[in-house]
Amino acid sequence: MFETAIIAGAKIVLTLITLLTLVVLTVYTERRVSAFVQDRVGPNRVGPKGLLQAVADVVKLLMKEDIVPKNANKPIHDLAPMISIGVAMSTFAVIPIGSTMTLFGRQIDMMIADVNIGILYILALTSMGVYGITLAGWSSNNKYSLLGGLRSSAQLISYELSMGVSIIGVLLISGSLELDEIVGKQAATLWGGIPAWNVFLQPVAFVTFVVAAFAETNRLPFDLPEAEPELVGGYHTEYSGLKFGLFMLSEYVNMIVASAIIVTLFLGGYAFPWGEQFGLSGNSLAVAEVLTFCVKTGLVMFFIIMIRWTLPRFRYDQLMRLGWKVMLPIALANLVVTASILALMNWA
């Protein structure tokens, strides 16, 4: 019992450190990529190639004064960023980044919590995340913040449905709610040698899920809650210093988590299909798996960043129409078709 606790603790600390480092790298990548898209060079002064720019930003945020508006609801104003970051970080707990590793004669699962309802946990937590934003918007006592918060909750309700429904398609195919098993199912190969990733089995669900993930993480083209030109800064207009930093942090953690979920559910997760061909087993296989996972997640994140610098922001009514009139029917149709095909196959 005690040992399990220590192992879990070590994993949590390790994950937190990795996540924070990754956020720093992501911010840097985002700024560089955006600069490159716009024919600029981007940050290149702090540290080698500007790699320490994000660190400098963090230091700057730490030294800023923390301003709370006079009529704000102080406790909630303080609480909101904590909810945001807490939820964002804890989502990562159930994502498997590899199968098992043997360390000191002990088998260690490469995820923090092996929950057998992993997907439900993720869905529940991501919808918790909106509380952070909505409360931030409400407690700031500022119309722009409030509008941002309201938009965020409306957006989340609209897209959570299609997200959930598109996940059901994946669940039907894998027959399990456990992320580990979903990944395991995808490790096989289909006829013709392509891996049995859920993108190929469930392309429609993939598209709807990715779109919903963009909406849930408030990334462009769905970043209406913070739409700078209309809402100043949206829900974090009245935040400064470290608390603003926490919102930024949770935004990027959310992005990392979303990419990790997309990889796990649709892109084969950590599965390394050629383990036997290369003669990998045990720990070396685990390392290969973690690397596969990292590379895939990195690519998805790059995609998300590129989308941000490619598409303009949606209008609010367009967002709602897309959510309710397009995404939801498509996701539902996909679910019905998948279920019927599976039923036919079982029956035949």
Binding site: V33, F36, V37, Q38, D39, R40, V41, V207, M306, I307, W309, T310, L311
Partner: protein, 166 residues
């Protein structure tokens, strides 16, 4: 939204355009190609921008054979939209008979429009290529004759440019 001058409405979009995803991919291809385009940023303090002859930097007075060309007609100060120029004329024994006793341009007011250069009958005030102007106070920003006078050799480029294109 118009393409080739023709209005396209939402109903005119083709099926593939309405599906939206191929269009997103097109956009992504564009931005992805943009990643490898040449960057136009100049790493400023280390590398500097060499302006072309048509560049309008700070206005300077042309100094020929040790004296300014200016005859203190006051046209530049009259035309200056920012009211930045102040000229005070006086007599001189030279052939031009008049010279500016005091010639001041307030560089905080100057908007680099180049009207002064255009209006000057003597080609005495011209726009240089200098663009690095730093002051620590309002007083410092008022450039007198000491700062404005520049030997003609240094502004040959601009003079030739003016002769060719005016």
């Amino acid at each position: 939204m118009s393409q080739n001058g023709k209005m396209i409405r939402k109903e005119d979009l083709s099926f593939w355009q309405r599906i939206y995803i191929p269009e997103i991919l097109k956009g992504l291809r564009l931005t992805f190609m943009a990643l490898f385009r040449r960057k136009i940023t100049i790493q400023y303090p280390e590398k500097r921008f060499t302006p072309p002859d048509s560049f309008r930097g700070r206005p300077v007075l042309v100094e020929e054979n040790g004296v300014e060309r200016c005859v203190a007609c006051g046209l530049c100060s009259r035309v200056c939209p920012a009211l930045a120029i102040e000229v005070q004329a006086n007599e001189t024994a030279l052939e031009k008979e008049r010279y500016p006793e005091k010639f001041e341009i307030n560089m905080v007011r100057c908007i680099f429009c180049g009207f002064c250069e255009e209006v000057c009958p003597e080609e005495a005030i011209i726009m240089s290529k200098e663009y690095e102007l730093v002051f620590e106070s309002q007083e410092e920003a008022v450039f007198g004759k000491d700062k404005l006078l520049v030997p003609i050799e240094k502004v040959r480029d601009r003079l030739e440019f003016l002769h060719k294109h005016r």
